[in-house]
Symmetry: C2
Subunit: 345 residues, 2 copies
DNA sequence: GGTTAGCACTCGATTCGCTTGAGTGCTAAC
DNA sequence: GTTAGCACTCAAGCGAATCGAGTGCTAACC
């Protein structure tokens, strides 16, 4: 036995209905609400076939059927109608992002809350992540008598600044001179490379050994990951509106997962290159999320870094809606980040 | 009728028990578990009195009594035994903060998660907030051909940096010269004052008008609040472990509240000066939190800024435990921030 | 007078059985 | 191949019965 056109149509109707209502759908519902010109009995036979094929599950014998992960997969792959999103939603998105220039963190926080508000699911936004950034400018800014701020500008943005200790009294001109020398020497290199170059400089500039040592330590500490990325999350509470999470225990494990941002980031980030990803239930690879689906899209900045936006919702998700929202938002962010220069973090 | 010593002891036992179990406590429980040398009948009489005095509520006639907000107030004010916290918890706290230097945001994120892990409630940490910071150094760091990073160091830390557009090609020496002039002129002034001084400078330095205009816009935008403070939250999912929140709808409103960080910050921040605050139920002034309590403590940095750490939990909270944890954590943070120079953010 | 044993009473929670109704699977007729 | 019809299943909803924790009151006791 295999899929034919009619089975397809019936399956689609079942999925549509289930996504809408969240309750198992029966044969009568399909034959009445979606006029197929078939009686419930016929639908019943087809549903029985669809179950055998693995597209439908039956919670118990006298309930309707619910779509399986396999069904959703088929749905997003081929039979989903990619609905045009209503204009007002779209307007909301762009209205929120035109206007004044933003900080990176504000932008992604905001993006997360807009996405979650529009989709009514949980949204996650990861900041742009580049390859090894290359240094462009190094500057030491005096903060107090004995401390200076290290500001490193790279081609992908600034490395999170932090203070280092200054050996003795050093006026701002001296610091500037050292900054120039450092910039000269380190420009175009990655942080890791800088860590190899610095010892040589320390040899040559004995008089500033202490300062440079401090800088070396600073670089060494963050050469691996320029800074722990700021993960923006929005609408975690939305999940509680869905009957799937009326079980408190389930809700709790979900929320705990949302709290461990590192783990969350790695789940969302996925394998990377795909512009659009839909992972359904078990496909997420996360045991806690067997009845969740994750949809992600990417955006990029002028300097070619890629960021990820994602939505987490129940497997019974309004995939087409979510995908079009993510699509719009992805473009919006890409626009925003290529327009201005807000690649700093 | 008024409170006597015995009533006090009974009330304390009731509160202790209720905090522990979360179920209404009956007279028999008290007379058996807490050996008062009194029969349940006597306790019953006393409980009846306590109810009349407004310290106890009775959910329904055949259930035990639960402490009222008034009772908790009395409890934290006078009859709570400030338990020594177990050593391992304390160790956990300090272990997490010794070691390498941290970024401000990392520290407060971390503090929130440690507090929530120790208390099993929801923790909120607000970054240090000073009065009007005074500028110390202004420096423009070239980022690209047509953009520069503005770094403003104030007596309380750095103002969140951001880029402004550069008019034409400007080399780093020119930028440095301008930076020096700006520093000269603006040192010691608040951001708001700077906004009044700048127009004059623009008059005098016509050749850099465009750049200075950009800077002016930059300052103007953040003179009110140097930057939207980063609020760290931990353990929101902990709340779901308490029967108080087994009602999904309740949980949802609580979580939504936790998501609006601005509102949350203003709730936690409170009136400010008190080193220790305990607000019980209605005292929080937030309708959504009538059955929550908020305990806050403060910490301070070397430059005298004050930050707030807080715990939100059910009114039936382990107040003494929470207070001692906040106390320790407050000291820990104060130590950390006065030891190093991590007043930048 | 304070304390306590005893008892009737209340009322939420639990259990049990019954009914209802949505939905299925099968069969026989079209 | 489609459909009407029917027996069957089973979760959910409902109400009565039961249970038990806990109270308030009274009368006896120290």
């Amino acid at each position: 036995m295999e899929m034919d056109d009619r089975k397809m149509k019936i399956l689609q109707a079942i999925i549509d209905d289930y996504i809408l209502t969240g309750v198992p759908v029966g044969s009568r519902t399909i034959s009445k609400k979606y006029d197929m010109g078939l009686s419930s009995a016929t639908i019943r036979n087809e549903m029985s076939d669809l179950e055998e094929l693995g597209y439908l599950d039956q919670p118990h014998v006298s309930a309707g059927r619910i779509p399986s992960a396999k069904a959703y997969r088929l749905y997003v792959d081929s039979l989903m109608k990619t609905g045009r999103i209503r204009d007002d939603s779209l307007e909301t998105v762009s209205r929120h992002f035109t206007g004044r220039v933003h900080q990176m963190e504000d932008v992604i926080d905001h993006a997360a809350s807009v996405i979650s508000a529009l989709t009514r699911y949980t949204a996650v936004v990861l900041p742009p992540k580049g390859k090894q950034p290359r240094m462009q400018t190094v500057q030491l800014v005096p903060v107090s008598r004995d401390a200076a701020l290290v500001v490193i500008v790279t081609d992908t943005g600034i490395v999170r600044d932090s203070t280092i200790r200054l050996p003795g009294d050093m006026d701002s001109d001296t610091l500037y001179a050292i900054s120039r020398a450092l910039t000269e020497e380190l420009r175009g290199h990655t942080l890791a490379e800088a860590c190899e170059i610095l010892p040589g400089m320390i040899q040559r500039m004995r008089e500033n050994e202490e300062l440079l040592q401090g800088l070396y330590g600073f670089l060494n500490e963050r050469k691996e990951s320029p800074s722990r990325p700021h993960v923006a999350i929005g609408g975690t509470s939305n999940m509680l509106s869905y009957p799937e999470y009326s079980d408190v225990e389930k809700a709790r494990t979900f929320l705990s997962l949302m709290e461990t941002r590192d783990k969350l980031a790695s789940i969302i980030a996925g394998d990377g290159e795909m512009a659009f990803t839909v992972r359904i239930g078990p496909e997420t690879g996360v045991p806690e999320m067997v009845d969740c689906s994750i949809v992600t899209a990417t955006y990029s900045t002028r300097s070619g870094q890629q960021g990820t936006i994602g939505v987490i919702g129940p497997t019974r998700m309004q995939y087409s809606r979510v995908m079009s929202i993510l699509n719009i938002m992805g473009h919006q962010l890409t626009d925003l980040f290529s327009r201005g220069d807000e690649t700093n973090e």
